[in-house]
């Protein structure tokens, strides 16, 4: 079945010419990404050094192999921080998918345009307040001593809960407040997906006698499949990101045993004392784990759902 060489090379040249615009379109982005994202990767060598900052990035640093990683592993509290991170991150990943998807579908069911617009705008507000600001507000709202939330729970006979200071409730508080802060903003992507659904599909379904729930389950949801799978795969990269800013602004020493995460842990022992080598080793460990998770989920999405996310 071998073809004459010249036809093949001609065809290849034709393909090249056809694809040339694509290469040109990508060129500027490829160059910038190389400079500002790939070149800095050389800094990962710090992870294997006893890095003394003043000697400079490529100075005469001492190579210590895997010592920084071993040091991390043996630090008291490291294992509990890892466990907390995984538990908190798992629930956040799950709920950051489920809640925004649900809310975007519910919003889509609202017929009153004014209500929908208002609700859509309001849920998106907390995203713009940083955790520093929210931290101060949450201490008030969640206080066991006259805080707003406990007052409401009190109406139902619930005893005051020390959300921020009790090891029984701290993780839950972290997860719940984070989901509350971000769900509105996260619905945006799903709303964009819903917008793209062809209204004819709904009309056809209504004519076929489908009720609202059936339309939600059989039309809205399947049409969002692409974006849901995409978000799911991408979010798995966060398996070791439990949210530094949030934890840092909400935790206190009495809840270290349930609330200390890898990032806060490394911040305390690493960055405050300028131990860049240890901090970089930590970053590298996180990268490897998230790459692993994303690769597996990418493969699964491709293998079982026949879907390539990129």
């Amino acid at each position: 079945m071998s073809k004459p060489v010249n036809t093949a090379s001609l065809r290849r040249r034709g393909a090249l010419k056809r694809e040339l615009p694509f290469h040109l379109m990508l060129l500027p982005g490829v160059i910038l990404v190389f400079i500002y994202m790939y070149v800095p990767l050389s800094g990962l060598i710090i992870a294997f050094q006893k890095f003394i900052p003043a000697k400079g990035l490529f100075g005469n640093q001492k190579w210590i192999g895997w010592d920084n990683f071993i040091y991390l592993y043996h630090l008291p509290g490291a294992i509990s921080a890892l466990r907390n991170t995984i538990i908190i991150a798992f629930w956040k990943i799950l709920l950051h998918l489920v809640i925004p998807i649900t809310v975007s579908i519910l919003l889509n069911e609202v017929q009153n345009a004014a209500f929908r617009r208002t609700a859509q705008t309001l849920v998106y507000l907390p995203h713009f307040l940083s955790w520093i600001i929210l931290g101060g507000i949450l201490i008030d709202i969640l206080s066991p001593n006259g805080g707003f939330v406990n007052k409401i729970l009190g109406l139902f006979g619930v005893k005051p809960i020390f959300f921020l200071g009790s090891n029984d409730h701290f993780r839950f508080t972290l997860i719940a407040t984070d989901v509350w802060k971000e769900f509105g903003f996260n619905t945006i992507v799903y709303l964009a997906a819903i917008t793209n659904i062809d209204p004819n599909q709904y009309e056809a379904a209504t004519i076929d006698g489908a009720n609202r729930f059936q339309r939600m389950i059989y039309i809205t949801l399947p049409n969002m499949r692409m974006i849901i799978v995409l978000m799911m795969v991408l979010s798995l990269g966060n398996v070791l990101n439990a949210g530094f800013d949030q934890v840092f602004n909400l935790y206190s020493k009495q809840v270290y045993s349930t609330g200390d995460i890898l990032d806060t842990f490394i911040y305390r022992i690493g960055l405050l004392d300028a131990q860049f080598g240890v901090a970089t080793a930590m970053g590298m460990f996180k990268s490897v784990v998230s790459t692993l998770f994303i690769s597996v989920s990418y493969y699964c999405a491709y293998r079982f759902a026949d879907y390539r996310i990129f």
Binding site: A15, P21, F22, M25, L26, P28, G29, V30, L32, Y36, M37, P40, L41, G43, L44, I46, L57, V103, L107, V110, A113, F115, T118, A119, T121, L122, V123, L125, P126, H127, F128, L129, S130, I132, I133, I137, F148, W180, G184, I188, V189, L191, A192, T195, N196, P199, R212, M226, I227, L230, L234, G237, F276, A279, G283, M284, S287, S290, I309, F310
Partner: protein
């Protein structure tokens, strides 16, 4: 049959409005709280007496902020940064997402490029080497340090390329028969049919540029160059009391005025909140499809 369906539909509506209404209200609380403090007297605010309604109503804090040149300069820099930054982001986003949305038979190298971009989301070299590159490329201390290093938004590219893929291939084939180049197809077929997606990534970019504070502090050489969030960060964060010298407390007195802090936080949130309703019309169902059909 019809009645029960009707009845369940009403129940659903009531519950739906109720749930969404409560959720929306809960999201309003923190901002209202901040706003109420900004309109209260300083003593009431530091006494923790303000909840959702101002105590000892006064607009003194806003009068003070109005006179604060540093705040408005920072706001100006942030607006400029958002406009320039988002424009650059959108340029790269469209330009990269379009070829990557092609199937392998159209663009054989797409998988390679896709991984090339995607990998950068997974590993990064960290702060120090990036600082070094920014310095070597001469951006240190310039406005461009805020927009160039992050010019290519990989996450947004992946999002957009997935939306582009949903555009029916027939549209493109028809355009090719009409003799359109790829550049024209991108600009005249894909971009107009993806307004909701473009609005989404534009919003993500705007929010990123508006809220980002760390690069402002790291790459700028003077507080005069800080964007708004970097500026806010320096006033919002409480002083580290354990690292204070015997004469540092004066800073605490000046910084600590809670009402002024809250006035600035509130004013800083306003511009970005105005962007959303503006982009919101792209998320309203039917409009996009209507424009394609028409």
């Amino acid at each position: 049959m019809v009645e029960s369906k009707h009845w369940s539909s009403i129940l659903f509506n009531v519950l739906n409005y109720l749930i969404l209404g409560l959720l929306a209200l809960s999201c309003l609380i923190p901002l209202v709280h901040v706003f109420a403090i900004s309109l209260s007297s300083s003593a009431a605010a530091t006494g923790g007496l303000v909840n959702l309604w101002p105590v000892d109503f006064t607009i003194e804090s806003y009068a003070y902020v109005a006179r604060r040149a540093a705040f408005w300069r920072a706001m100006g820099i942030s607006i400029l940064r958002s406009v320039v930054g988002v424009t650059i982001n959108m340029f790269f986003c469209i330009l990269c997402a379009y070829p990557l949305s092609k199937e392998k038979d159209q663009f054989r190298a797409r998988t390679f490029y896709a991984w090339y971009f995607f990998l950068t989301m997974l590993v990064s070299g960290g702060l120090i080497p990036l600082y070094m590159v920014v310095r070597m490329t001469g951006l240190m201390g310039t406005f461009w340090a805020l927009v160039i290093p992050g010019a290519v938004p990989v996450y947004n590219i992946i999002l957009l390329l997935n939306f582009f893929r949903q555009t029916p291939r027939e549209l493109e084939d028809a355009a090719i028969i009409d003799g359109a180049t790829q550049w024209r197809i991108m600009w005249q077929v894909y971009v107009p049919t993806s307004t909701a997606a473009l609005a989404t990534v534009a919003l993500l970019s705007t929010v990123y540029h508006w809220n980002e504070w760390f690069h402002g502090i790291l790459y700028m050489n003077s507080p005069d160059q800080y964007p708004l969030q970097s500026y806010l960060r320096t006033i919002v964060i409480d002083m580290n009391l354990s690292k204070m010298g015997a004469n540092d407390w004066q800073a605490l007195v000046v910084v600590s005025d809670k009402t002024v802090k809250c006035a600035q936080i509130f004013l800083a949130s306003l511009p970005i909140l105005l962007v959303y309703p503006f982009l919101q019309r792209y998320f309203v169902k039917g409009m996009v499809l209507g424009s394609v059909k028409g």
